[in-house]
Symmetry: C2
Subunit: 397 residues, 2 copies
């Protein structure tokens, strides 16, 4: 049996990061992975400008009643400042050559002749944003391998970029196996259960940022499974299935992958979880998740998510682990396996703490829908209230 | 000047939660808001079933060499167990009537005659998952007002639901104002700047779960702005603009909203930020963000996001605030305004701490793209390293 860390490292080693890239219009790059660093091609702001609505002047010219010689709105270009005068100026408008300070309008008074007097003495540079103060030409503003967020797009726009180079989406084909699976909405025949895996796995992969190809459900049939694997390998970078990878003789996925490519089948020392398959079919990676929904969910989070994130080309593939105090006891730990308990981080009297979902043994997704994270215990690690535990926040899903 | 809390409470009071709902196929409900609680219409699992691959038997019948009288795969229905025999059974398969335990196959040995012997003595109930153990018929499994995540969809599928009732998307129309705005990709004319607001605001609203209607950019023109407001009110639940709401005389948005509906214009005591407009035009809410990108970004996060989340119908509208130790000093706090510093939560030697983006005064989005959260200081609150600060994690964007 492989330890959790061994299995994770083994998978991460095999994750060849996506490298093919394409330029996309800025608004279509949201949530995509930046393929190359972005450098600023210009200064931001592009010219010295006013950070206030007010009056621009030369400090040395300050006088009790100054003529207002021009009006500079944002978007217009000023004339050089006439000596001894002030310029009416608005936020964001360029500073007229010759001016060296802006006095905000609340500190200015216009008289009947249109001359302006000020209630303060300005210092040079006051209320002026300097050219290149925010972003200097040539500066790297976004690193490669980053998932682009809203502020990143705004930042790229502020230096005039209409497109960004992003990595191509990872195409993940998914199918489900099992004669006992019925689709929701249909009545259950004797012995059937609803295929819940399809309904959490597809959106979870979508949330991860993959292009998901849904190939549906196949019965416990070797030939049909082999055909589906070939179809999947033809269109996808990664194939993910749920079920059919334990040692029972009804599991055809194992045999089908072995016939079409190569397969490593592991018992990984995690709970819930345990069976996990990795293989290759043609150019595609194959990942077989356990069919129990909770086992599959936890295995996706803890083993497959880091693999897929690296495979997608993200520079930060691994989850961020926090330390949070337990608000529960867990007195009979599994001695062989790392346990991933479904927990919720809540604010208690003593600060943040982890609450435990009471039914950890269940195969139903209730615990996963309730939880916002996993408490990661080493084999044999018992918990008493107050213990500091490793908390693995569930990604956006 | 309104305090931050006053402005937030005032806005939240005015947010009438979305109530119109529609049923959607399960896979289309990901990220949508559940309109009604979901109750389980059946037991999960629907019948007692095996949690292992192995042999089902009646404990009292245990004998050294037992005949295997039937074979029960997942998806099939078993016959009543023939007395004195065992049934070959697989994970998830229904327990034959009469059997009361399952022995895992690793603890069983088949002899040449096809009889099975066991290396353990089973106890009643062993390796059997009981009907309704995971979800009992009639139980509420998902509450109304919840943003549906992947596990929720799996949970709904496991009780056979093909559709869920979700709230209609909040339609948010967005436009931008200013003669000085140029679109990225075009050369900058004298005095122009790139419209970065469009490129962070549209994806940020999309990430919040709104249906975003992009109405483009309008120059500093009162009639054109009025027309755009009427167009927006005809199609949207909420209108959001950036810029044009400060007191400068070039700002036409204020006058346009006043002409077409009603407007409250505030100075909110936050930094960055300050001007914020709320109004109504016909049946639509109007929100005017400050035009400075960083001010707009922080105002969206701290004031508008809670408003929109409540308006969308989410039961948890407000952000979760953590306490995290400062790894920086901030010795000259603003005495009148709450400050929202752009920070990053990082693991230090003493645990999690907040690092400060060095250039807090900048108008460029660099700090917002770098940060993963905001440190929320009260007016006059200075910071020395080690102080416990309120940390507001930026939502997915």
């Amino acid at each position: 049996m492989l330890s959790y860390q061994q299995a994770r490292d083994w998978l991460l080693e095999r994750a060849r990061p996506q490298s093919a890239q394409q330029p996309l219009p800025l608004l279509q790059t949201h949530g995509r992975i930046l393929a190359e660093p972005v450098w600023a091609g210009l200064d931001v702001p592009p010219h010295d400008n006013s950070s206030m609505d007010g009056y621009a002047l030369r400090c040395n010219d300050l006088a009790p009643g100054m003529p207002v010689s021009q009006r500079v709105a944002a978007g217009s270009m000023p004339q050089p400042l006439q000596p001894g005068s002030a310029a009416r100026i608005f936020t964001g408008a360029p500073i007229p050559p010759g001016a060296d300070a802006v006095i905000m309008q609340e500190q200015a008074q216009l008289d009947a002749d249109g001359k302006v007097a000020f209630s303060i003495v300005p210092r040079a540079g006051q209320n002026i944003r300097l050219r290149g103060e925010d972003i200097a030409k040539g500066q790297e503003i976004l690193p490669a391998g980053r998932c682009l967020c809203a502020a990143d797009l705004g930042l790229a726009a502020s230096i005039g970029l209409a497109n960004l180079p992003v990595l191509q989406l990872l195409r993940v084909a998914v199918f489900f196996t099992g004669d006992e699976l019925a689709e929701p909405g249909l009545p259950l025949a004797a012995g059937q259960i609803y295929n819940s895996n399809r309904y959490w796995l597809l959106p979870a992969l979508h949330s991860l940022g993959c292009e998901v190809i849904d190939l549906g459900t196949v019965g416990d049939d070797l030939e049909a499974t082999r055909q589906l694997l070939r179809d999947a390998a033809a269109v996808a970078d990664v194939i993910v299935t749920c079920g059919g990878v334990s040692v029972g003789e009804e599991d055809h996925v194992k045999a089908a992958v072995e016939a079409e490519g190569e397969l490593a089948l592991w018992q990984v020392a995690i709970k819930p979880g345990k069976p996990l398959a990795y293989g290759r079919i043609g150019g595609a990676d194959f990942i077989g998740l356990p069919g129990n929904p909770v086992s599959g969910f936890v295995t996706l989070q803890t083993l497959v998510r880091p693999f897929l994130r690296k495979r997608m080309g993200l520079s930060e593939a691994e989850a961020v682990i926090q330390q949070v105090a337990a608000a529960f006891a867990w007195l009979k730990p599994d001695m062989q396996r790392s346990e991933f308990l479904r927990v919720r981080k809540v604010m208690g009297r003593q600060g943040w703490q982890l609450e435990l979902y009471p039914q950890q043994s269940s195969g139903a997704l209730t615990s996963c829908a309730w939880a916002d994270g996993l408490a990661w215990l080493e084999p044999g690690q018992a918990v008493t209230p107050g213990d500091s535990l490793r908390y693995w926040a569930l990604g956006p899903a």
